[in-house]
Amino acid sequence: MGTSKIEERYDRNFDTISHGEQKTLGGSKVVVIGLGGLGGCVCEMLARIGIGNLTLIDGDVFEHSNLNRQLLSEEGLIGFSKAQAAKDRVNAINSDVIVNHLAEYVDESNLYDRIKNGDVVMDCLDSISTRFKLQKAAKKASIPIVSGAIAGVAGQVTVIFPGDKGYELIYGKKGGKQSEGVETKTGNIAYCAFLVAALQSSECLKVLLDRGDILRNKLLIAELWTNTFDIVDLL
């Protein structure tokens, strides 16, 4: 896409995000792990914000039970790769974004390799134990994690820099042995997933631009039955 088209795309953002900042975002690499309720929305928003390089990872395919909340899921895409759908969506939104899509699950054996070239990794996983593995890999790769998690109409967001205690502060030292939280009982409601994904995207942008208040060692907790938004000091 030519320069003038790029200018036109972001023209109305420039009182909020400067030309220089837009250029920084265009030169940034973000890895999104998990392309379900959170990850699908995060891809959408990062593509529209103009992150220049996205690595999108999920080994799963769409099922009917995803249609209640996952932005990228469609009736016609049941059985289709989430990673391919995410790539197709990002390409359709913003052809300037370089997309690497990986239709595979992550574990200790491949996490470091998959994230090491990123500037930020977005934790959109649905497993607490894998989140701990991601933190270990991100520490080794020296990149920050923007983490979101949801259950029912509640959600949480935090940012973990290399060397931070991170998930240990939220789930406890033994938390890494736990694979699932209460979302197995509550399910996840679409608007809560979208809200938490939006908060994650905002934190990603702030980390990349080193701007604003970042949720480092803090946990934002949102609960939508009561419109409660708390920011808790984790230290």
């Binding site: 497993s127 939220i170 209460v182 907790i221 708390d230």
Partner: protein, 76 residues
Amino acid sequence: MIKIDLKLFVTLSKYQPENSKGLEIAEETTVEKLMKDLGIPSELVKLIFINGKMQKSKYRLKHNDRVGLFPPVGGG
């Protein structure tokens, strides 16, 4: 007696007492004791935050404390 504001999140909300805003409890009550009195199994609580700060279950509650208990949340 002292008064506290108590909020129980997600699956813990079923243990929420009716008068959770301005809930009267005995002085020097710990969070641990409060949870026991309300019948909340300790393994269901992952985060205890008092006045916006993380605390341990041994914390002794004070008048006007805002208390939040949060379960483990890991969905994506």
